[in-house]
């Protein structure tokens, strides 16, 4: 990595750091609230739940996962097409680096931010659980963190690609959200529904996966390398496509 790459990464970081900081605070706050107010929520629930079940339903399949998916998409927004609307694309393009490197720097910073967000529950849940006289296994939390990083990367990369194609500031996010809904409906229909691994949101929370025991709400066995690798490849393809689109576009 050259000094130039570092400068590009710093630019990408400065552009996204405010939203990223808000996202970190929001995710941390929600995780903390869920753990600390767990007893109240369990008491209000119609069914009796174990602590692991409650955490899984609230965090890995519930509000926290939904928030994470939206935040991962939001991190993908921005780029040269949006800069063009603000009239600053010319300054960025005047930098003595190729467009591919600019795109790569933004992608690296964004993916690092997605990874950081993914591990917030993994860090906080085992750390805060003893405060309510409970425990949450660090290993399972870290594996979920890896799964979230892979799933979040796809969402980030999809919005990243759409931001390179669609000029509007919010249009890529709206289109990505609608596409996600369409994708969810599609993979729930036959014959795709026979392959639950195709639904990456399901892979993220473990439902129907061989490495997840629904009776115990726990992950078993080694980390699922293949789905993680496939999700990583899909994200890499989207980012490569964003680079190709940016390279061929006329920003004048």
């Amino acid at each position: 990595m050259t000094l130039c790459d570092l400068a590009l990464c710093q630019k990408a970081w400065k552009e996204s750091r405010v939203r990223f900081a808000i996202m970190v605070l929001a995710l941390a706050w929600i995780c903390a609230a869920i753990v600390l107010l767990q007893r109240i929520a369990s008491a209000r629930s119609d069914e009796s739940m174990s602590y692991a079940q409650f955490i899984w339903k609230a965090v890995y399949r519930g509000a926290v996962r939904d928030l994470f998916t939206i935040l991962a998409m939001l991190l993908g927004l921005g780029g040269l097409l949006q800069e063009q609307a603000k009239g600053t694309a010319g300054f960025t393009l005047a930098l003595p680096v190729s467009r591919k490197r600019m795109v790569a720097a933004r992608a690296v910073v964004g993916l690092a931010e997605v990874a950081f967000l993914s591990f917030i529950p993994a860090i906080l849940l085992p750390l805060l659980s003893p405060l309510v006289n409970e425990s949450y296994p660090l290993g399972a939390a870290l594996t979920f963190g890896v799964l979230w990083t892979a799933g979040g990367s796809i969402l980030f990369a999809a919005t990243f690609l759409l931001s390179a194609v669609l000029a509007g500031e919010y249009t890529p996010w709206i289109v990505c959200t609608a596409s996600l809904v369409a994708y969810m409906l599609l993979v729930s229909l036959w014959p795709l529904s026979l392959l639950p691994s195709l639904n990456f949101l399901q892979v993220m929370n473990g439902v129907g996966m061989p490495w997840f025991r629904e009776a115990k709400y726990a992950l078993v066995g080694p980390a699922p390398i293949l789905p993680i690798a496939v999700m990583g490849l899909a994200a890499a393809f989207f980012i490569w496509a964003a680079g190709a689109v940016t390279e061929s576009r006329d920003f004048s």
Partner: protein, 247 residues
Amino acid sequence: MLWFKAWRESRPRFLICAGIVAAICILGVLLEGPAREQLGSRLVPNSYVGYVYRLTYAGTVRGLFSLFASVLGLGGLQRERGLGTAAFTLILPVTRFRLILVRVGMGIVQIGAISLLPAAIIPALSRVTHQVYPLSQALQFSLLWFVCGIAGFAAWFLASTLFGSDFTAVTVCVASGFLLGVASQLSSLGAYLPSGNYVMSGFKMSYLDPQTDLLTGALPWRILLQISLQAAILMALAVRVTEKRDF
């Protein structure tokens, strides 16, 4: 002219949002048979009314509508400042109050149009597929959606007057929406700040019969008034901030 400006600025967003809501409603009704067959009983109850309710009023369409109504609130002078066009708008011989009023008016009209789409599409199209969905139910849900949609619009509208970057405004709104949602579920805050999603769908509310998925009795006028007041306060704050700000 101001109305035309507000329309031109929000047109792509509105058309995309309306198009997506309409498309899901149309496909949901036309593909009802295969969809219910494929999705099975785990998602869809046995009645057609229940299917429409789960898909539209308590499901995907409602989720998208909440997001879209809020997105329509983004923009305004603070965003124009970032684009370098705020001065052109401010030089127009109208007060800032009027500028905001027109934007809010356009947003309300657009939210009204989107919230009425399921009511316009589902009962009419259901006849084509030899099914029945009561128009009165659809219209009542539209009213619930309209009021809650305006509250989301107002919150995001205020955020976009406070924050220069739209991405920051969106992030703050999404995060605070989830925080409030979780807080109201886990604490007694829910009594004062009812969840918009619950109000729109009637989920866990006294005015929805969970056996039939039909709205029964009077609409929750007190809650709707409370939400409208909250929206009005947020909009008044946005007006105040815009009037005071140095652009």
